[in-house]
């Protein structure tokens, strides 16, 4: 397995150059201390207030949960099929579009023509805000939207697997990776062809609670809470499924060694199908709640999220569900909180930098060695 290989190579690296390594560690500690110092001095001088810090952290947590939820699917296919799926981001968008088309249809039936509802208000024909979409105002539409988003992404990922990836099953990871780039292109621009390239607002302003934190109010709205509940619920569910069921065991066996798994009688094709089903559902739902939370939808939302998801999965260790979740939260927090230290234009860059740093120090990821669980 490639991961083990990288692992042993990195061990070599550590053993051969203890000085370089300790220097790097010292630099890392220095950097962390410096960042803390900047943070504390900003808090003391009042440049940054505690409640602002709280808002940034909450924002980062929300973003991180979306990234983590979408990352679980990516991580599972990465470890079981052994390739980096670059079309994963577009599964997110596809799931979001299918779910939001459902939500629009249910929320706006009779108030606008069906065509523009199904196209999620392409070209500004219907506005989500005008339909009053929200978890408190149109709960049925949102819940059904979540369900359909999951189903849509599952159907799409099974279809793509059958037509594109299955014929390439025995090939090396790079061939599959290149094919997945092709899938990503085709999907993304088909979505642009159908749904148009405009960024649409999807929700009306949701009600919010405010919490008083030391020196100001932190707002938490209903959609934040929906995202939190759905994401945590699904993560726990997947954890239980993979820990308790035979399927989870079979997945772990396959990600360890596919050939050996087949010899022991594990129906590998069936496991692959279930991987796509579980991963696809999580991906589609993450796309839906991401749009619900941020309130806008565009055809390249998923693609823009993809690199952050990769960062999260690599950070956590490929194949690890906990790793994907933890990595997602770290990446989300980094992307949101980086504005404390650096200009906002570099917030995403900071998340990538964290990934590269982790690759340098611990290429196998934080949670490596706990495949698929």
């Amino acid at each position: 397995m490639g991961i083990a290989e990288t692992y042993s190579r990195s061990r070599q690296f550590v053993d051969r150059r203890p000085l370089t390594h300790s220097l790097a560690a010292a630099a890392g500690v220095g950097l962390v201390l410096y960042l803390l110092w900047v943070l504390v001095s900003q808090l003391v001088t009042g440049q940054l207030q505690i409640h602002e810090l709280g808002e940034l952290m909450w924002d980062g947590l929300m973003r991180g949960l979306v990234i983590g939820l979408a990352g679980v699917g990516l991580s599972m296919t990465y470890s079981i099929l052994n390739f980096a799926n670059f079309s994963h981001g577009d599964y997110i968008s596809a799931g979001a579009f299918s779910g939001w088309a459902t939500t629009y249809l249910i929320a706006g039936l009779g108030r606008a023509d069906i065509g523009s509802l199904l196209l999620v208000g392409a070209g500004g024909s219907v506005f989500g805000g005008a339909l009053g979409i929200g978890i408190s105002t149109t709960p049925l539409a949102v819940v059904l939207g979540v369900v359909v988003a999951g189903i849509g992404a599952v159907a799409l990922s099974l279809f793509v697997d059958r037509t594109v990836f299955k014929p390439l099953r025995g090939e090396d990871g790079i061939t599959l990776l290149i094919a997945s780039i092709g899938v990503a292109f085709a999907l993304r621009y088909l979505m642009q062809f159908v749904f148009g390239s405009d960024v649409r607002g999807t929700t009306s302003q949701p009600p919010a609670y405010s919490f008083y934190v030391v020196d100001g109010w932190v707002r938490v709205n209903y959609h934040d809470m929906t995202l939190f509940v759905v994401a945590i619920g699904l993560m726990v569910g997947v954890h239980l499924l993979l820990q308790r069921s035979k399927l989870g065991k079979a997945m772990r066996a396959m990600s360890d060694n596919g050939d050996l798994a087949r010899i022991t009688g594990i129906p590998t094709e069936g496991v692959v199908r279930w991987t796509w089903i579980i991963g696809g559902a999580l991906t589609g739902i993450s796309g839906y709640i991401f749009v619900l939370w941020k309130g806008t939808l565009a055809f390249d939302d998923g693609w823009l999220l993809l690199l952050l998801i990769f960062a999260a999965v690599i950070l956590g260790g490929i194949g690890s569900v906990y790793g994907a979740i933890a990595g997602g939260i770290v990446i989300g927090l980094t992307a949101s909180m980086a504005v404390i230290w650096i200009p906002s234009a570099f917030a995403r860059a900071a998340a990538f930098a964290v990934m590269i740093l982790i690759l340098l120090v611990r290429p196998q990821g934080i949670f490596a060695g706990r495949a698929t669980a």
């Binding site: 990288t6 065509g115 094919a179 092709g182 990769f310 234009a345 930098a353 690759l359």
Partner: protein
């Protein structure tokens, strides 16, 4: 760069002629000429259908040559990374951006208040800027390679694409919009981009050789040449000549990469591609070879980026989106990774058929079919199909959205290639790495030479000298 330290003065002239003849007969050069001829013919025919005058035809040929040139150059550079060394770099566009921006920084005239440009440069000659741009791209490659090369191929992919995005964000940010360097007010212009207000590259090129006046004379003569009779011929001649310059650069890249591939250095690269552990076990410091190869490729990508954008008049960071990287990959995969001729062929096919082709097809169809207004969205386009079984609005919408659909087509082509021909048109053919001929000496005539491999007789002289020349690369 030690890329070429192995090569000697080259084989005897007769050997080279033999080489060329064999290649022609073997079909690579023939295939390239055939494909190029076909593409140009298709464009000329579509120009006739569109009712282009001579000026329009020349313009479309110049544009076609330009894109064939840049994509072939980029595919060649990428071939060094992926085809020779097996480095999966999907951050091509980042190295192009670094090359272009550093070139602009060095070569733009010094800032003068009230001028057209928002920010200035260092005001050095263009060739200094080009060299600086290549150097910067190579150094940036070094920075990327240092952490990434120890990792698996797909990790390198993710690191390189992340780096290319970091580059784009950096040039977009307002922090680097303006700063002071050596007492000069310089900058990268932020989101609004940079105006490239230096001496035009062609002018600078000809002035270097003192040929600018001769060139202007040529332009006038060309314009007033009997049957042509163009007024204001300069823009057309400029772009045609620039296309020719790009073709020259293709030749230079091709030559450089062929020499590199055939040198002892290149053989180690191929060994790394096939099995890095074996190369390591044979005492090669594979990391150093990989870094050198990566840096050389990055410099070539930087130069290709400069050649693409130097004549565009302005540059904005959002030009450098990852999709251009994938365009280059599609070009390389069509042609076949590992083959330099394949890279050129792939660049030509990509530029002619996939990149420019759909737009021309659209123009031709619109010229042939009756004029109507396309619906402005998918909804109005499909509604008539359900209401009155009228597919025409959908056809118009499809035609109107050709820019998006062309990317869909590219994606499908990529998938098709991976399914049916992952080695591309000319890729992954057998290469002879040994310095002596290992094949059974049955006939005297030369056997097939794989691309990057050797032709009998030529390889023996060329290579034994190379071996004694500069083997110890570490």
């Amino acid at each position: 760069m030690s890329a070429n330290n192995g090569g000697d003065a080259g084989p005897a002239n007769s050997g080279r002629v033999n080489d060329v003849i064999t290649r022609l007969r073997e079909g690579d050069a023939g295939l390239i000429l055939l494909v190029l001829g076909g593409i140009y013919l298709a464009y000329i025919i579509s120009g006739v259908i569109l009712g282009y005058q001579l000026r329009g035809q020349l313009n479309s040929i110049a544009a076609l040559t330009f894109y064939i040139g840049v994509f072939a150059l980029l595919a060649l550079a990428l071939n060094l990374h992926w085809g020779y060394t097996g480095l999966f770099n999907i951050g091509v566009v980042g190295f192009m951006a670094v090359g272009v921006y550093v070139m602009a920084l060095v070569s733009k005239p010094v800032y003068t208040p009230g001028g057209a440009a928002q920010v200035g440069g260092l005001g050095l000659p263009l060739w200094v800027g080009v060299l600086a741009g290549m150097l910067a791209a190579a150094l940036f490659g070094f920075i990327v390679a240092l952490p990434a090369l120890r990792l698996r191929a797909d990790y390198l992919a993710i690191v390189t694409i992340a780096m290319s995005e970091i580059v784009r964000f950096s040039f977009l940010s307002s922090e680097f919009q303006q700063f002071t360097l050596f007492g000069n007010q310089v900058g990268f212009g932020g989101g609004s981009g940079l105006i490239l207000d230096y001496t035009q590259p062609l002018e600078a090129f000809f002035r270097t050789f003192g040929l600018w006046d001769a060139y202007l004379g040529f332009v006038t003569a060309f314009g007033s040449f009997g049957p042509l009779n163009l007024n204001n011929p300069k823009p057309i001649v400029d772009s045609l000549i620039y296309g020719g310059v790009l073709l020259l650069f293709i030749g230079a890249y091709y030559w450089l990469l062929k020499r590199t591939g055939e040198s002892p250095f290149g053989r180690v690269l191929k060994a790394i591609r096939e099995d890095e552990d074996v190369a390591n076990a044979l005492g090669k410091n594979t990391n150093r070879f990989k870094i050198k190869s990566f840096m050389l490729g990055c410099a070539l990508m930087g130069l290709a980026g400069i050649l693409w954008l130097a004549v565009q008049g302005a540059v904005t960071p959002n030009f450098f989106r990852p999709r251009i990287t994938f365009f280059v990959w599609i070009a390389l995969i069509i042609g076949g990774a590992g083959s330099n001729t394949g890279s050129v062929l792939g660049g030509a096919i990509f530029a002619g058929v996939l990149y420019q082709g759909p737009l021309y097809l659209k123009n031709v169809l619109e010229a042939v079919l009756p004029q109507t207004n396309a619906p402005n969205g998918f909804g109005p386009a499909v509604a008539p199909i359900f209401q009155s079984l009228d597919p025409l609005p959908f056809v118009w919408y499809t035609l109107d959205s050709i820019r998006q659909l062309q990317l869909v087509i590219m994606g499908l082509v990529l998938i098709w290639l991976m399914h049916n021909r992952p080695e591309g048109l000319l890729g992954h053919r057998k290469e002879i790495a040994a310095s002596i001929d290992l094949s059974r000496p049955t006939r005297q005539s030369s056997t097939a030479a794989a691309d990057g491999g050797f032709v009998n007789g030529v390889s023996e002289t060329n290579d034994s000298s190379a071996n004694s020349g500069g083997q110890r690369d570490e």
